[in-house]
């Protein structure tokens, strides 16, 4: 796995410090740059975990029909047109006509209409499921969902649900009436008639409420409940029946009769399961679990599914509620009206291990020349050569790309995990059971400590090949410029002698490559993973926080020309994961 660099989002947490990188939970706080947003108002990074999401439109992913939000609710977030999914394989179903009737004289029938012959049914092009198997056919090839609607409306669960609602509604209404008399007795004249004593304070009210709790087995004298008490014949003989004074509910379809039709987990189902020959005949859990009603086990009984709608979402900053990203309304469009993504604001960082790249290159060369039998060996060698072994020192490169129209000065700092109070012991390392008891990470990272420049972003044709870093007049940082050039030139001859590993290695256009070094401890395990604070300063010529000048010309020149440049600083944390360490005993 190549090394990764992820960016921290503080997610409204009060502490800006990221969690220690060795904790497994830290990965939730870091995100790839392309997933992050940037709020200009708050000058802060926002991630998908903390933004507030609004639906700006619904559409069917199959027919791309934009569904008005009024009908989304009624259609249960599903496409109300002709879009269905296969219940077996979740492929999109297509509507097919029946075979034309055989005229009987052996000739091909002449199709009467262009749309085909009714009845129509749904057919899966992938698994050959068709809806005629479950008895679903259509008169017309359009508006299928509407034709199915009447079945859905008369689904047993919704009918039973309505009945339950009717059953409870009078009880609830009665109780809410009496509760209003309890909670506000003094204000209510009718309750005053009931109560001789005006309950003046809450204590007596509470006491009465406590006493009003029904006592098990003690029937209450309640005209309302008695009128509704039509507990059947059992109630008369059995004194303890219907103590809760709730009228008995009679199911529309009870589970006994439902199970006679082969559903609901009764004897029929057990017999079916006992003689089952093929696993595929039983529907899987995922195919059944949406059903709140007793449904047959058989996969053959599955009904076609209406395709769930998708939504276009706009996202807002959770603090200032400014829109961070807003798509265009049309379902077909993939563009955005507003798009404040972090990759336009923060320098993009990629990490690389040069020895890994060398190893990959070498082995691929060798694999080309050798037979395939050696490929496995080569791959093994490559793994060993490209891995990070304990007790060794490795250089690594960080390539920073500036996406701003201004040059920036970047400073990289490795977050020291020093404070033992704030830092849980490293028992939570990638392999907690074998974790060393040391608090410090088992490796040391060195990075250039001073700041270095990255040239401004410009369109590709504005760069000239030869003068990559002199062009924007950034020579105020001479030592690094020279170091970068020297190191860059020596890069090809690396390995021949001692070369500079830490420092700016290469500058080209708006990309600067800096080198770092990691010293792996002898007993190291886990991943080489460290938090790195990236702080950069840029000149912003207007106090408005839009640092991306919309001027297309070289912005640096304009900034230099007038006004005292206002220097702004922005800092963010990243986590750099260089990959797993190969422990001592394993390494060859």
């Amino acid at each position: 796995m190549p090394p990764t660099v992820d960016y921290h989002c503080p997610c409204l947490s009060r502490s800006a410090l990221p969690p220690p990188p060795h904790l497994p939970s830290s990965s939730f706080n870091f995100h790839a740059l392309n997933e992050l947003f940037f709020c200009e108002e708050c000058d802060a990074v926002r991630c998908n975990r903390c933004v507030s999401v609004e639906v700006s439109g619904y559409y069917c992913p199959n027919c791309l029909f934009e569904v008005p939000s009024a009908s989304v609710r009624a259609e249960k977030n599903r496409c109300a047109r002709n879009c269905f999914m296969c219940p077996d394989c979740r492929n999109t179903l297509s509507v097919v006509p029946s075979d034309p009737p055989d005229p009987g004289d052996g000739r091909m029938a002449i199709p009467i209409s262009t749309i085909g012959e009714p009845p129509f049914f749904l057919y899966c092009n992938h698994c050959r499921w068709d809806s005629a198997e479950v008895g679903i056919t259509f008169e017309k090839p359009t508006g299928l969902a509407a034709q199915l609607q009447k079945f859905e409306d008369s689904a047993p669960d919704s009918l039973e649900f309505e009945r339950l609602k009717e059953h409870f509604e009078p009880v609830i209404r009665a109780s809410s009436l009496s509760s209003s008399t309890t909670t506000a007795p003094a204000a209510h004249p009718s309750s005053a008639a009931h109560s001789h004593r005006v309950r003046t304070n809450s204590i007596t009210a509470a006491a009465s409420a406590a006493l009003a709790r029904d006592i098990p087995g003690v029937g209450k004298h309640n005209p309302l409940a008695r009128s509704g008490n039509r507990a059947g014949a059992g109630g008369n003989k059995d004194k303890t029946a219907n103590q809760d004074e709730m009228p008995e509910y009679r199911s529309r379809v009870d589970v006994t009769s439902a199970s006679k039709l082969g559903s609901g987990g009764g004897e029929i189902d057990v017999e079916y399961m006992r003689h089952l020959e093929n696993v595929g005949e039983v529907a899987s859990l995922e195919q059944r679990w949406m059903n709140s009603w007793a449904t047959p086990l058989q996969a053959a009984e599955l009904k076609p599914l209406r395709i769930p709608l998708h939504s276009k979402r706009s996202k807002r900053c959770p603090v200032c509620a400014h829109i961070l990203i807003k798509p265009e309304q049309k379902a077909q469009s993939v563009r955005y009206k507003i798009k404040l993504v972090a990759s336009n604001y923060l320098p993009a960082i990629t990490a690389a291990l040069p020895h890994q790249q060398d190893a990959v290159g070498d082995s691929s060369k060798r694999t080309l020349s050798k037979s395939t039998a050696a490929a496995a060996v080569a791959a093994e060698e490559e793994r060993s050569a490209a891995g990070i072994h304990a007790g060794k020192t490795y250089p690594f490169h960080l390539a920073l790309t500036n996406m701003l129209y201004d040059p920036i000065q970047v400073r990289l700092t490795v977050q020291r995990v020093h404070a033992p109070a704030a830092l849980p012991p490293s028992s939570g390392r990638a392999s907690p059971d074998k974790a060393p008891t040391t608090r410090r990470p088992p490796f040391a990272v060195s990075l250039p400590s001073s700041s270095f420049p990255i040239a401004a972003f410009a369109e590709a044709w504005e760069y000239e090949d030869d003068e990559d870093d002199d062009m924007f007049g950034l020579d105020d940082d001479d030592e690094f410029g020279i170091a970068g050039r020297v190191a860059g030139r020596d890069k090809d001859a690396r390995g021949a002698g001692k070369v500079k590993m830490v420092g700016v290695l290469e500058k080209k256009a708006n990309v600067t490559v800096v080198g770092g070094e990691v010293v792996i401890g002898k007993e190291a395990r886990g991943n080489v993973k460290f938090n790195m604070l990236v702080s950069y300063t840029y000149r912003s010529d207007d106090p408005a926080p839009s640092e991306s000048n919309d001027a297309d010309g070289p912005p640096s020149r304009a900034a230099v020309a007038n006004k005292p440049p206002e220097i702004k600083t922005f800092a963010f944390y990243t986590v750099v994961d260089l990959g797993p360490i190969i422990p001592r005993e394993e390494s060859r």
Binding site: S15, V55, D157, A212, A233, Q243, M246, G264
Partner: protein, 589 residues
């Protein structure tokens, strides 16, 4: 504050006002704090509440007023571990880390509920969280924090899942058994009031079933690796069969076998019943008449033929070339399972099934997929683990029901016994509910007289000690036992049992709690509601006090999420001068 009916101080008691009070709050439903009516007039657009039934593995979400959930999904993916389980690390730092991870995973789930499943704006939707009676408080706190802080929902109410299940069958009184993934919980509910002190629980539930199934498959299943080449497929399957490699049985595969292949057979005959929990064959012949010594010696040879060949000549895979259980390293666990296997093979007539599985990475040399052969008795008898009682800490599901029933006040027992409701995903196994009924009756039945009466050595003249009979007090209830959603209710002698058994609407047990939540939401009621304003005010007070984020966990406990474990329990007689409660803390919900 929209929690009207809650008595402020339950401990306060004024002996002068009984009759008035009784008239005033007459309705049983109203007087229940769990079913308190909240606002009748809801704001525009928010009438439909969001019902979230959040389990440790499977979540069901949807809008109130609908008969089925809009979406059901595995929280965090089918292959991932459940969100929480029964144990927590003891170390404080590990615990904090675990809580952080849980918070992130819950946050992902809850955000996807609103944004992916329901496509709705969380800021406009009140939420009813279906809450398991034993849901740990820290999880509840985390969920409330995410809902209020991250998603900014207007209000959250917590509704006990057992009560909601009961609502879904149109009742407010009954004994509800919820067989979920982590545990099975029996809770009696009277007049919409859960009798939490009578709650009984056991870890014999879905997770245990899964691990038992895996153990049985590893030992008694057969695996046919894919043929090494297409031409090699002519090799008879018996020569290719091996033991099941552990890697084949991924969580998803075991889960699929559980959902698609397993069912619950009829109860074992009492004479062939063995205490399968810890008995080794032949350890105590006197109490286990089904395992005569002759047979236990025979079993070794039986098993070298995989225990099936003699009985089922029809199965071509039954003769395993390598004896799968070498007698030498036959340790205790396996020999126990062997005894089980013998017993179960005799008591099962289910067909053997083949299933295609992805071969393990190390053996992916062949063509196509491997074949897993699941013996029929595993399909039928894996669920026996749920019905095997005898352990103090892990009583069987029937024992859990009976234990709860024993604790119920005597005059409620008949009512509870005749309205047992089974909910939860594990009870979706075909045959589960009829079997539970059978087990209930069997457990209450008078114990068989032991073969040899242990004669009292000290007083030989006295009659022998009576056997311990835990459920003797329930024996008069026997004709009343009826499970509301039993698909095959036995014909009972009492009219009441007949009137109840199997008369519940045919909602599936797994979604019952969700349906009840939907019903409660549609009736504008539900558990105790916590408003965003309440939350924010407490939250703000917390953060003004100290800016330290790390202790916010402890501080935020001050916002009293309603929970039955936090209800003040009256100690003895109520005091004459009741101390005003900090906030209305109702019992339960």
């Amino acid at each position: 504050m929209s929690v009207p009916s809650t008595p402020q101080g339950k401990s306060s008691l004024d002996p002068k006002t009984p009759t008035i009070a009784r008239v005033a709050t007459s309705s049983a439903v109203q007087s229940s704090p769990h079913y308190a009516t909240t606002r009748r007039h809801s704001l525009y657009g928010v009438e439909d509440r969001v019902i979230i039934d959040a389990g440790s593995r499977i979540w069901k979400v949807g809008f109130s007023g609908e008969g089925r959930p809009r979406d059901v999904f595995y929280a965090g993916g089918a292959e991932e571990a459940p969100l929480w389980n029964l144990s927590r690390p003891a170390d404080a730092l590990e615990k904090a880390e675990e809580e952080r991870i849980l918070e992130f995973r819950l946050e992902r789930c809850l955000r996807s509920v609103f944004h992916d499943s329901l496509l709705t704006d969380p800021k406009a939707r009140k939420v009813i969280l279906v809450e398991h009676a034993l849901l740990p408080l820290y999880i509840k706190d985390i969920m409330a924090r995410i809902l209020f802080d991250n998603l900014q929902v207007p209000s959250v109410s917590f509704a006990p899942s057992h009560l909601l299940s009961l609502l879904a069958v149109g009742r407010i009184t009954g004994l509800v058994v919820d067989c979920g993934h982590l545990e099975s919980v029996a809770l009696p509910i009277f007049a919409a009031r859960p009798l939490f002190p009578q709650l009984r629980t056991t870890p014999l539930a879905g997770a245990r079933l899964t691990s038992h199934l895996r153990a049985l498959l590893l030992l008694f299943g057969t695996y046919l690796p894919p043929p090494t080449s297409l031409s090699a497929s002519s090799i008879p399957a018996a020569n290719r069969s091996t033991r099941v490699p552990q890697e084949v049985l991924t969580d998803a595969v075991v889960e699929e076998i559980k959902a698609r292949c397993c069912f619950v057979g009829d109860g074992l005959n009492d004479d062939s019943r063995v205490d399968t929990r810890d008995a080794t064959p032949g350890a105590d012949e006197s109490s286990e008449p089904d395992l005569p010594p002759s047979e236990s010696t025979q079993s070794e040879s039986d098993f070298s033929f995989a225990g099936r060949s003699s009985h089922r000549a029809s199965s071509e895979f039954s003769i395993i070339s390598n004896p799968r259980i070498p007698a030498a390293d036959n340790h205790r666990g396996e020999s126990h399972l062997e005894a089980l296997a013998m017993l179960y093979t005799r008591n099962s007539t289910a067909t053997e099934l083949q299933m295609r599985v992805v071969p393990p990475v190390a053996q992916q040399t062949g063509t196509g997929r491997g074949t897993l052969i699941i013996p029929g008795w595993i399909r039928e008898r894996t669920a026996e683990v749920l019905f095997e009682g005898g352990d103090v800490d892990e009583s069987s599901i029937a024992e859990v029901v009976l234990d709860a029933l024993v604790k119920v006040p005597v005059d409620l027992r008949k009512t509870m016994a005749s309205s047992i409701l089974v909910a939860g995903g594990t009870s979706m196994l075909p045959g589960f509910i009829p079997r539970l009924q059978h087990e209930l009756v069997r457990a209450v039945a008078p114990p068989q007289a032991p073969l040899r009466q242990p004669s009292r050595t000290d007083r030989p003249d006295r009659p022998p000690l009576p056997q311990y009979d835990r459920y003797a007090c329930l024996r008069p209830m026997l004709p009343y036992f009826s499970i509301l959603n039993n698909p095959n209710p036995p014909v009972a002698t009492k009219a009441r049992a007949n009137a109840n058994g199997g008369k519940a609407p045919a909602f599936s047990p797994a979604t019952m709690a969700w349906v009840g939540g939907s019903l409660a939401g549609a009736l504008k009621t539900g558990g105790v509601e916590v408003n965003r304003e309440q939350w924010d005010s407490v939250d703000a007070a917390n953060h003004d006090g100290d800016g330290n984020m790390d202790v916010s966990m402890e501080v935020e406990q001050q916002i009293v999420l309603p929970d039955w474990t936090r209800s003040p329990l009256p100690a003895g007689a109520p005091s004459a001068n009741p101390v005003p409660q900090p906030s209305p803390v109702p019992v339960g919900a």
